[in-house]
């Protein structure tokens, strides 16, 4: 039986269809990005977690140090400084920044499916790839500024609350001295210099006080037997020699990070964050759910990467180099220490910068393609 339109059922003239609204285009519109941003931003629990981790942890840590230093400056050192900076940026922000970025990516990649909105969006006729790609700028618009704010707080405190002197093996030395100024200062503080700074072939019999190497300790390697007690002039000469020997070490010490280092570190952290978000987005889109994807990303960052970074596995080194954390560690600014398995100068697995860049691009682009493909082909 064939149904025919009945008299009186005739539809009116069709309204014009907006043929140029680029509905089939794979590129998302600004409105799609804006509403996706709104959808993510209004997830209260997720946003609180993101803010707590990226901004809250550094703020609480540095705030406590500022407070303690203000209350008891002799007991508690300054809140900022170079060491604090490297520890926070290469440690907390690096590791947790990746994890929260991946969590946000996993959320953005899965909630449309799990909350039943994906089919509503598909029914609009909008390209599925555009629906997927809209999540990228929306998510990055959330996580990149948060990491920037957290990192900015770290930089500000570490610069403005930096110690006034450098700490060289427990010896507080004025910063910014020239070689001659350092030697003059060393001559003026001969006993402190000789008791704290390492030296080569500067045999001086000097009784160091408590807290250093102890009274009557002989400074220098292989001192001659029955070394006489030095005169003040001899002490000064020896201290100048020791200062000269430590000049290179002194040059590498900073009260606070340089602008260049802060810029490099900031870019490196944002790179890590961006890649973490993209990978999380792709993995969650592939799996269609958030929990397993988040757990997988945490395992990758906290367990697999530190192991792969430190252990050389024969015949599998190229596989190790393909791990994201190894590649991003390679791009870590050289002044930062190894932290949380996230990177540092002393990682054992070596690779070229080109390889590291290729690996990072492969992860970011590869997972984006996989996620977009899955969202384009899956049943809605």
């Amino acid at each position: 039986m064939t149904l025919r339109p009945e008299a009186g059922m005739t539809a009116p003239a069709d309204p014009p269809t907006p043929a140029r609204d680029h509905r089939g285009s794979p590129l998302p519109t600004r409105a799609m990005i804006a509403t996706r941003f709104m959808e993510l931003r209004r997830r209260r629990g997720l946003m609180i977690t993101l803010i707590l981790v990226t901004i809250g942890i550094p703020t609480v840590f540095l705030g406590a140090r500022l407070l303690l230093h203000a209350l008891a400056p002799k007991t508690y050192g300054p809140a900022g400084g170079y060491d604090i900076y490297t520890g926070l940026s290469a440690g907390i922000l690096y590791t947790f920044g990746f994890i929260v970025a991946a969590t946000l990516g996993c959320t953005a990649g899965s909630v449309d499916l799990t909350e039943g909105m994906f089919r509503h969006l598909v029914v609009t006729g909008r390209s599925r790839i555009a629906i997927y790609l809209a999540r990228i700028p929306a998510g990055l618009a959330i996580i990149v500024p948060l990491v920037a704010i957290g990192f900015g707080i770290v930089c500000a405190v570490c610069v403005y609350a930096a110690p006034t002197t450098l700490n060289l093996n427990g010896l507080h030395v004025p910063a910014g001295l020239s070689r001659a100024q350092l030697e003059t200062w060393a001559g003026d503080h001969a006993e402190d210099v000789l008791c704290h700074l390492p030296s080569e072939n500067v045999p001086v019999n000097l009784p160091c006080g408590p807290g250093t190497t102890g009274p009557g300790t002989v400074i220098g390697k292989n001192p001659p037997a029955n070394l006489p007690t030095p005169s003040p002039r001899q002490l000064r000469t020896a201290a100048v020699r020791v200062a000269d020997q430590n000049w290179t070490f002194y040059q590498r010490q900073f009260r606070y990070p340089s602008n260049t280092l802060m810029i490099k570190t900031g870019l490196w952290l944002e790179l890590e964050t961006t890649v973490g978000f993209l990978v999380g987005l792709g993995v969650a889109s592939l799996l269609g759910q958030r929990t397993v994807a988040v757990v997988g990303m945490i395992v990758l960052e906290v367990i697999i990467t530190p192991i792969v970074l430190r252990v050389r596995i024969p015949h599998l080194e190229n596989l190790q180099r393909s791990v994201l954390g190894v590649a991003t560690a390679h791009l870590e600014p050289g002044e930062l220490p190894l932290a949380f398995g996230g990177g540092g100068r002393d990682f054992r697995l070596t690779e070229s910068t080109t390889t590291a860049v290729c690996v990072i691009l492969a992860w970011a682009i590869g997972w984006t393609i996989i996620g977009a493909w899955r969202m384009s082909t899956r049943d809605a």
């Binding site: 149904l3 140029r20 709104m38 209004r42 609009t124 629906i131």
Partner: protein
Amino acid sequence: MTATVAVGEGSEWAVETRGLTKRFGSNVAVSGVDLRIPRGCAFGYLGPNGAGKTTLIRVLLGLTQADAGSMWLLGQPVPQHRDLALARVGAIVDEPRFHAHLTGRQNLQVLAAAREPAARGRIEAALERVGILHRADDRVSKYSMGMRQRLGVAACLIGDPQLLILDEPMNGLDPAGMHEMRDMIRALVGEGRTVVLSSHLLDEVERTCDAVAIVDRGNVIRQGPISELLAGAAVTLQVDCSEPRRAGALLAETNLPVTVAIEENGLAVTLAGGEPRDVIAEIARILISGNISVWRLQLVQTSLESWFLQITSRLGED
């Protein structure tokens, strides 16, 4: 440069499928369906649970891919011109679910952003039309099932659709809500839109729709205007008489195309194929000539529900 294109210009069908097939492994959910839904009507798509109703809708909307066959929405071939076709289609598939942490209005904003820019301007009117404007700024997590159904319809309306496909839109609605939904569907049809209603609430479909298709085990087994379909269905003649058993025996001895069921106060005589007046007259004549007192002859029109049960295979299984 801007241009406009009339959707499905020249096509008399809102939905047309030819040999549409969808399989899930060895299970054929939609089997070679040929379906034609005229424009500007309310069309019921009926079938028992698991008959393939929702699967067909999902295939039509591009939510899942067909394994074989071809289809057109508003005259546009799908999936080739899916974006053009769906530009004027609104649909609810399964139960309407939304982002629970967003308000109803915000959910519609998300969906409007995926449509043309003008869609955002239709949000207020859509919310008002479905009667949830006063709750538009509440989170969807606080909505009842019925309110989510209404929000689902509002989500359809923001696209100013020429074709609405509603999958079980009456679910969760109270009687007043069902009445409002029915009125709204009729109003939408009155505006020249086509509404495809998938439901198992046959009474509602009969009241709302102009035409139906019956689907069972993935096949469309009947389709057409309800009045035409029921005209060809069996009707029941209720006979109140004395001596029902003897009356039944008298009718059974004849060659009349009837099926007789004996009841306490008479007979229920099923007449195959519509309302044959001659057969009714013959029944009366046989009973009276057999000295049986006939007190009442009443023709009971077949409802869509009873007709549906007659023709779907599930009845036979039961």
